[in-house]
Structure formats: structure tokens, C-alpha cells
């Protein structure tokens, strides 16, 4: 690896001081003056109903109310990948909490009170609350119009059913291989819905000023996608992209929940109804739970054919996703997971069917891991069961089947360079694999579990990033991007990448959160792709600036261009070691010639990146042909748990995670992703799940009822292992790793429970209660056998 000065170092966050001093401004910290209006949403009481009429007259009369807006004003369908939803419900509601109308008032209290006065007359329809019901022959259709919905070319909706997309993968001949396999193992695993629980709620302020430009401040991971969807959804009002401006201050956690467009469209639309005055929509913590994207539930039926030597020869994985009432984003989760649901294994014969199913629950959508956490629970649990049944050590079994560089992927492409085997070996060593451990407490058992993971960025083939970079008089820099700082440390890493090229230290580089009027295009900050994609754009912008500098030095001073290089904020020459010209001497004001004239001018770099090799077009029946995934990031994780045999309560003495990041641009930030992601993953196994009533109402929409971990709930020790097999097209060889740190958590814990107690839990979460009950059942079974 080339010596580098800034890349690869644990540079202190350039946004750190703002965040620890309270200077960082989040959406709610921006003041909008005395004429700010507040909106409160009127929500559906029912999971599925026809709206017969809406009576707003009482609400309109309420003191302080400025306006009441209903779906009538915005009869336009919109969505990210499929246009299947409206800004406000039209004639039908499809989940409890869905927005039907909004009251705009001068105070939040007036808006709240008046919203209660809006009378909605409903006729209830049958609720379709789970996948099983949704797929029944005589089921009720949630979207009778499905066949007319506009969508991206890689979706395949099934009109006149509740299946909004079906991703099919056929590689080799699975049917034949199952017949030839020495053993076939089949099982079903289920995963409930989960909430992101960013500590900051969603909020939006829209201002449609008297010049008819729409500015929207949002807490978002996707300013440009939002601008595009606002412009598109509101185009009937005459708005074009140039009229819409999205400003995104610091975001208090995203995890996918603030990607795409969810409640933000309400703020944007409402603003157009109260011209000249800003209007604010702020979700409560409860709304944050029931009316933003949720992680979709999954039922997965997995069948694996394996030979005596441990080689997997066939897999059939059928995934049924509870995608909720609208799938404009969620269907792409189903798609991405479907393409990769064979996991990081080299399997010659694969059949996958991934069904996106409408249900009368809140819309599913992106959540850190984008479907991979969900299918990995079943897949990696099943791998352990197979290993046990054919008497091969689970680590050895994974080594035998692990995917390697050049192996053929499900859609026909080749696997990228990766250090999966190294990751397996390193976590096995770190967790003392193979060494049985016993607790000092006879009531407790110790178990170890392992899980592998992989994930590719799920993005359209033309998802692109761009960057501007401008020098200041003192050779400090501003970099403008629209990748979002959502906690991962993007701003810092972008500064490091530019620093490396331009020899300007990161402390002299400012990178700020986006404003679509000033910062150039970025698709979205999702998919763990911005280090890679936005990083490449920044690298290219820095190279562009550097080349301009060399051009100028050659032109103004006659230095041979090919001998020039940058070091310590100076231009130097390999040919003329005396020559050293500080950037600050010319970077804005140019270089003076003998006659007093100047050459040069402010140096501004520009860079863009689009993965031009990617394509989402493939045979819908097999998925063969395209190149939907730009690369996979892989790794392995292992855990040691100590578990009470009676109560099922567990503690985690140690967790280990090894990930191949290509190149660790900032090791400290990577470790931050590992400790944070692992705990978020562990929480989905031990503490969290969303519970619904039989009427489709979310029962635990608060932090008191939906428990996320506190500082008391962490593993005693977390070991982070960074592996670096360079990604050929990544900035300095880097690839993304943010989501990956949470996705192996569930199966590795389930595997550790099995190791400790001999019981296999096949449905998440793996709570103490569930373990205790299974233990009782096991004991009863044992008693029957023994008696």
C-alpha cells in the first residue's frame, strides 16, 4: 500500500466540536420567526377503510386555525421506485395513523386541538394484517390499481393480487441438484417488524414564498431525492426543480428511516397552501414509530441441499415480506434482498423467490441492512443446523462454502476481491472457537455463536455523486457535497480524501451539510455507498483542482508539468528541489509575471462519479444478465453469551466483528460503526419488536414500551477487526461498511443460544421469555422420553 499522510489515520471528526458543544444545528434548532405556522395531521383510525367524507368545518372555525387541507388539494400519486401513494389519503386509508388531512394553525396547541375536530366518515374494509392473509386466493386487494402504477423497470408487480413485486433468481438447476444432494434440510424462520429509533424525530419546515419558490428544511438522508420527489409530486402546481430548494441541517440519526421521502412531503405540500409563511410539521415520538418507514417483517422458507463433504450444492429460499400499505421504497428492499438471499456462499444452484406483499400495516422501507439482517437470521441459523446435522464444525462448514473472489454471483457476475476467509479465521480465533467454556454459576450456560454476512449497496445503476471544492485565500478549503453526515463521519472522511490529494490537512477543510441550491447532486446517503461513491467524486474534484494548479504553474512559471507534485500545502518539483511555492501565495490571487500582470485565479475543483458498469436490466424469470450490485462488503462476527437456564436471561461477555472495508480510511470511525451497529443488531434480538393489535394498531409506540438498549445493556467487550482487501474502484481502495455491522447479530445470538442450551429459536426476537418457554418444552419432552 502506498504511504499516505491523511487517509488511513484516525483523524478527529471535523464536525466533532460542533456536536459536543451544542453548536450543531438540527432541524428543530433553526428559528423561523414569528410568522411560523404549525401543522397537525389528522390520522386514520382504521387499518383499512373507505373515506366517505371529511368534515373540516368545526376545525376551520377554531381560534388560531389558518387552514385545513385534505387530499382533495393534492390528488397526485408519487413514490420513489413505484408511484403507489398520495400525499394525503384520497378515498381509502390503508394503515392506522395514515395522514388524511392537516390543520395549519398559529400555535401547535391550536393545530392539535382543531385536528381533533375534523370529522372523517369511514366505511371499514376487511383488514389484511399479515402475509398469509394477503396471499390467500379470496383475499381483499389493497391496491386494485396496482397494474396502473408507474415503477422502475426492475420491478414486476402482479396486478389483481397483493404482490407488488416478485424478484426471482434462478441460477443453475436447483431442482436437479436437490435430487442429487446427500442431504436436504428445510425450515422456516420469521422476523417481525422493527423501528429505527433515531433519537431525533422527523421534522420538516416548508416555505412557499411570494416569488413562488419552495424551500424545504428537512431532517433527511436524501436532500436531492427529496427535491426531485417534491418537484415531481407538486409539478401540477407549476413547480420545477429549480424552484425547489431542500436544506438539510445535521441529522440526529437516520439508519435508513430518514431516507427517501416520508412525512417530509406533507410539509412541502402544505407550504404551497399558505403562501409566504413557513409551516412546520414535527412528528411526535409516537408518530415516529407508526408513520415513518418500518423495517419489514419476513417469513423465510429455506431449503438447502448439501453433500457429505459439507459442500452446499443447492438452495431454495422463498421470502415473504410484510411490506405494509405502500411499497414505493420497500419493494426495493425486497428486490435487493432477493438478489442476495443465498448469503456469502458459493452455491452453484440457487432458486430464490422474494415476494413484496401489501398489508394494512405502516409502510415498510429502508432500515440499516436493507433486508439482509432479515434473511440472514434464517440463513445463518439454518447453516448451523445443517452443520450440526452433518457433523461438521459450523466454522469449518462456513469455510468450505464461503464465497471467494471470482465465484459466480446469483445474477451471473463475479464476486469482488474480499477477505471473507480471513474474517472467519480471525473471529474464530478471537472468540476461542472450539474451546467449550463453563460458567462459575451452575445455573448458567455459556454458548458461542458465529455468523457470516455480506451486503451490496442497493442502488439504481445510475446513482451518482458529485462534489465541488473551492480554495480560500489561506489555502484552506470548502468542499460541497450532498452526501449527508448522519453520524457516520462522512464529512471527516471526505476531508481526509481531499487532504491526501491536495496536501492540505483535514483541519483546514470545511465540509458542511447540504443545501441543494449550493451543493451539487448526490443520489442519497444510504446503502453504505457514500464513502465509496461520494468519496470518488471528492477524490476526482481534488484531482481536478490539483491539475489546474499544475497547469497554472507550468503556464506562469515555466516549470515542467510532469515533475510537479504537492506537499505540505506547497507546489514542489522533482526536477528543481529548491522550488517550493505555498498554495496560499497564488491559489486565489494568481501568480504575478514580471510585467505586473497576473495568471490564474480562484481554483475550483469539480468531480463526479457514476458506476457506469452497473445495470439493473436482466431476465425477470432468472435475474441473469445485469450487474445490479457494484460490489459486496463481507465479514464475520461471533459472540459469547452467558445464559440463565431457568429464566433465559443472558449477558454478553464478548462480541467480535471482522469486516473487510477495502481500506480503512479512518479506523476510529470504523470502530464506531462496529460498536454502534452491533448493539443496534443485538437489540433486535434481545429487546425490540413492533407489536400490533388485531386491528392493526401499533401497541408499543414509545420508548417506554419499545425498549432500545441503554448503557447498561452493552456487551462487556467488543473486539473490532478490520480487514483490508482493496476495492479496485474505491477511493484509496475503500468500500462501505456502515450497515454491515448490525446484520450478523441476530443469527449469531440464536446460534449461541443453541450452543449453550441445545434449543433452536426460529423466530425473532430471541427473548428471555421465549428461551425459558422453549426450555420448559424441552424438559417436558425429555421427561416423556425418559418415562
Amino acid at each position: 500500500m502506498e504511504e499516505s499522510k491523511y487517509v488511513g489515520k484516525s483523524t478527529v471528526r471535523i464536525d466533532g466540536k460542533a456536536k459536543i458543544s451544542g453548536a450543531a444545528k438540527f432541524i428543530e434548532d433553526i428559528d423561523f420567526g414569528a410568522d411560523l405556522l404549525y401543522a397537525e395531521v389528522v390520522e386514520s383510525k382504521f387499518a383499512h377503510a373507505i373515506i366517505n367524507s371529511i368534515d373540516t368545518s368545526e376545525a376551520e372555525k377554531f381560534p388560531g386555525v389558518v387552514k385545513v387541507v385534505t387530499g382533495k388539494e393534492f390528488p397526485y400519486r408519487f413514490g420513489l421506485y413505484m408511484h403507489d401513494r398520495y400525499i394525503f389519503a384520497q378515498d381509502r386509508v390503508r394503515f392506522v395513523g395514515e395522514q388524511i388531512a392537516a390543520v395549519i394553525a398559529r400555535t401547535p396547541a391550536a393545530a392539535r386541538k382543531a385536528a381533533k375536530l375534523v370529522k372523517v366518515d369511514y366505511t371499514e374494509l376487511p383488514n389484511v394484517l399479515n402475509v398469509e392473509d394477503a396471499l390467500k386466493k379470496d383475499t381483499f386487494l389493497l391496491h386494485p390499481e396496482l397494474g396502473n402504477y408507474q415503477h422502475v423497470p426492475w420491478f414486476f408487480p402482479k396486478p389483481d393480487t397483493n404482490i407488488s413485486h416478485l424478484r426471482k433468481v434462478r441460477k443453475g438447476d436447483a431442482e436437479k441438484a436437490f435430487k442429487e444432494a446427500d442431504f436436504v434440510f428445510e425450515d422456516t424462520y420469521t422476523v417481525p417488524r422493527y423501528a429505527h429509533c433515531a433519537i431525533e424525530v422527523h421534522g420538516t419546515i416548508g416555505l412557499f414564498d411570494n416569488s413562488e419558490r419552495l424551500t424545504v428544511w428537512t431532517a433527511s438522508q436524501s436532500p436531492y431525492t427529496q427535491r426531485h420527489l417534491f418537484a415531481e409530486a407538486l409539478s401540477p402546481l407549476g413547480l420545477t426543480h429549480k424552484d425547489v430548494r431542500v436544506i438539510t441541517p445535521f441529522v440526529g440519526g437516520g439508519f435508513g428511516g430518514k431516507a427517501g421521502v416520508s412525512m417530509e412531503i406533507i410539509g412541502a405540500a402544505l407550504a404551497t397552501t399558505v403562501k409566504g409563511r413557513p409551516v412546520k410539521v414535527l412528528w411526535s415520538r409516537a408518530q415516529e414509530f407508526y408513520n415513518t418507514y418500518q423495517r419489514q417483517g419476513l417469513t423465510c422458507r429455506i431449503k438447502v441441499g448439501v453433500n457429505k463433504d459439507g459442500k452446499i450444492i443447492a438452495m431454495d429460499n422463498t421470502l415473504y415480506w410484510d411490506a405494509g400499505a405502500y411499497v414505493e421504497y420497500g419493494a426495493n428492499v425486497v428486490n435487493a434482498a432477493g438478489l442476495s438471499a443465498s448469503g456469502p456462499y458459493n452455491i452453484p444452484n440457487v432458486k430464490i423467490d422474494s415476494y413484496c406483499v401489501y398489508t394494512n400495516l405502516p409502510p415498510g422501507g429502508p432500515y440499516r441492512g436493507f433486508g439482509y439482517s432479515e434473511f440472514l437470521f434464517g440463513l445463518e441459523s439454518h447453516m448451523n443446523e445443517i452443520a450440526k446435522n452433518i457433523n461438521i464444525d459450523p466454522v469449518q462448514f462456513r469455510r468450505i462454502n464461503a464465497i471467494r473472489e471470482g465465484d459466480i454471483l446469483n445474477y451471473g457476475g463475479k464476486m469482488n476481491p474480499n477477505g471473507l476467509i480471513e474474517a472467519i479465521d480471525k473471529v474464530a480465533e478471537a472468540i476461542d472457537w472450539g474451546k467449550k467454556e463453563y460458567s462459575d454459576d451452575p445455573n448458567k450456560a455459556i454458548g458461542k455463536g458465529i455468523a457470516l454476512f455480506w451486503k451490496a449497496p442497493a442502488m439504481p445503476p445510475n446513482a451518482s455523486s458529485s462534489a465541488f471544492l473551492k480554495f480560500n485565500e489561506d489555502a484552506s478549503l470548502n468542499i460541497m457535497i450532498s452526501g449527508m453526515e448522519i453520524g457516520q463521519g462522512l464529512l471527516t472522511v471526505m476531508a481526509q480524501i481531499a487532504a491526501e490529494v491536495l496536501s492540505v490537512p483535514p483541519e483546514k477543510i470545511r465540509v458542511e451539510t447540504p443545501d441543494t441550491d449550493r451543493n451539487p447532486y448526490e443520489w442519497q446517503t444510504v446503502a453504505s455507498h457514500v464513502t465509496w461513491g461520494c468519496g470518488r467524486a471528492v477524490e476526482r474534484a481534488a484531482i481536478d483542482a490539483r491539475e489546474q494548479i499544475f497547469d497554472l504553474i507550468e503556464r506562469a512559471l515555466g516549470k515542467e508539468r510532469s515533475s510537479l507534485y504537492l506537499q505540505d500545502e506547497c507546489v514542489k518539483s522533482k526536477k528543481d528541489i529548491e522550488f517550493s511555492l505555498p498554495l496560499k501565495d497564488f491559489i486565489i490571487n494568481g501568480i504575478m509575471k514580471e510585467d505586473g500582470t497576473y495568471r490564474g485565479g480562484p481554483i475550483i475543483g469539480r468531480g463526479m462519479f457514476m458506476p457506469e458498469f452497473s445495470s439493473a436490466l436482466s431476465d425477470p424469470e432468472t435475474s441473469q444478465g445485469g450487474k445490479p450490485n457494484v460490489h459486496y462488503t463481507v465479514g464475520a462476527s461471533a459472540i459469547k453469551i452467558e445464559i440463565d437456564r431457568q429464566t433465559g436471561k443472558m449477558t454478553i461477555p464478548k462480541a467480535v466483528l471482522a469486516i473487510d472495508v477495502g481500506r480503512a480510511l479512518n479506523p476510529n470511525l470504523i470502530k464506531g460503526q462496529i460498536t454502534g451497529g452491533l448493539l443496534q443488531g443485538i437489540a433486535t434480538v434481545l429487546y425490540e419488536d413492533m407489536r400490533y393489535s388485531d386491528k392493526g394498531k401499533l401497541l408499543n409506540a414509545s420508548f417506554s414500551d419499545y425498549k432500545i438498549p441503554t448503557a447498561m445493556d452493552i456487551p462487556a467487550e467488543v473486539v473490532s477487526i478490520i480487514i483490508e482487501t482493496p476495492q479496485p474502484d474505491g477511493p484509496s481502495g475503500a468500500r462501505g461498511m456502515g450497515e454491515h455491522t448490525m446484520i450478523p447479530a441476530a443469527p449469531m445470538i440464536a446460534n449461541a443460544v443453541e450452543d449453550a442450551l441445545g434449543i433452536r429459536i426460529k423466530s425473532m426476537p430471541v427473548t428471555a421469555e421465549k428461551i425459558a418457554l422453549s426450555m420448559i418444552n424441552e424438559n417436558i419432552k425429555a421427561d416423556i422420553i425418559n418415562s
Partner: protein
């Protein structure tokens, strides 16, 4: 019926009129422009609204503004009169925060702990910050920074 209240905020006397039902968090943020206390839940579950009342941390979303009449309130802004504190420097060094939304509350809870107990055990640190939810960091970088400072 509005009521006049007087209290010390970050070392300065303030005087304003509040309605009896007004919440301290809203008064601090919306009337006094002190934005470091955040609102993550508005019902006492998350700790982002943490401020010090007479030297002890409280959740300002659960405190009525009239209750602080004649009392002393300190927010994150108020502990930085001479720049970042050593604790904040340690947080910076350890990459203790990611999105930073929980940071103001977390820093005040840790500050309170170190005021009472300059050499806390790991367990005591965990207990002291257990009321401050953080979804990003997995807490260990926060704990490490506090331990590092006390060594």
C-alpha cells in the same frame, strides 16, 4: 394566567412570564433560545432534554417552567465558559458521538457523575448515563472517554 419567574440560567439572571402549564424545555428552547437541550420524546424516556437544576440533572421535558422560579439552571452552554471542558476533549478524542443528538444530555450526565465521583467504576458510569439514550454509538466510546479522563 401568566406568572413572572426569575431564575439563574447559565450564570445570568433571567426574568420572564410563563403560563402555568409551560414546560421548561420549551421555554429554554423557544423563549430563551438555548438550543442544546433537545426533545427526543417529550415524556421522560430519552434524556436528550437533560439540564442541571441546582447542580442535579433533570429531564427538562418533565419540569414546569414555574418550578424553576428562584432556582439555578445550567445547560451545556453553561459549562463551557472557558472553552471545552476536559471531559468534552476526551469525548472528541474517543469519537464518542456520531450524530451528536444525544451529546448535550449525555455530557451533562457525565459531568454530574464526575462532580460527585471523580474516579467512577465502569458500572457506575453505565448507571450514570443509563437515562441518556443513544442509538448511534453503542455507548462504549462514551464510557471509554470517561474512563480515560479519570485515569
Amino acid at each position: 394566567m401568566k406568572k413572572e419567574i426569575n431564575f439563574i440560567l447559565n450564570g445570568e439572571k433571567v426574568n420572564l412570564e410563563v403560563a402555568p402549564g409551560e414546560i421548561l424545555l420549551e421555554v429554554l428552547r423557544d423563549k430563551l433560545g438555548v438550543k442544546s437541550p433537545k426533545c427526543g420524546c417529550n415524556k421522560g424516556d430519552c434524556g436528550t432534554c437533560t439540564v442541571m437544576l441546582n447542580g442535579k440533572t433533570v429531564r427538562s421535558c418533565l419540569v414546569l417552567a414555574i418550578e424553576v422560579n428562584d432556582q439555578e439552571v445550567v445547560t451545556l452552554e453553561g459549562i463551557m465558559h472557558s472553552g471545552l471542558t476536559p471531559l468534552q476533549e476526551s469525548f472528541l478524542k474517543h469519537n464518542s458521538f456520531q450524530c451528536g443528538f444525544c451529546a448535550p444530555g449525555m455530557i451533562l450526565s457525565a459531568t454530574e457523575l464526575l462532580g460527585k465521583n471523580p474516579k467512577p467504576e465502569k458500572r457506575e458510569i453505565q448507571e450514570a448515563i443509563a437515562g441518556n439514550l443513544c442509538r448511534c454509538t453503542g455507548y462504549s466510546p462514551v464510557i471509554d472517554a470517561i474512563i480515560d479522563l479519570t485515569n
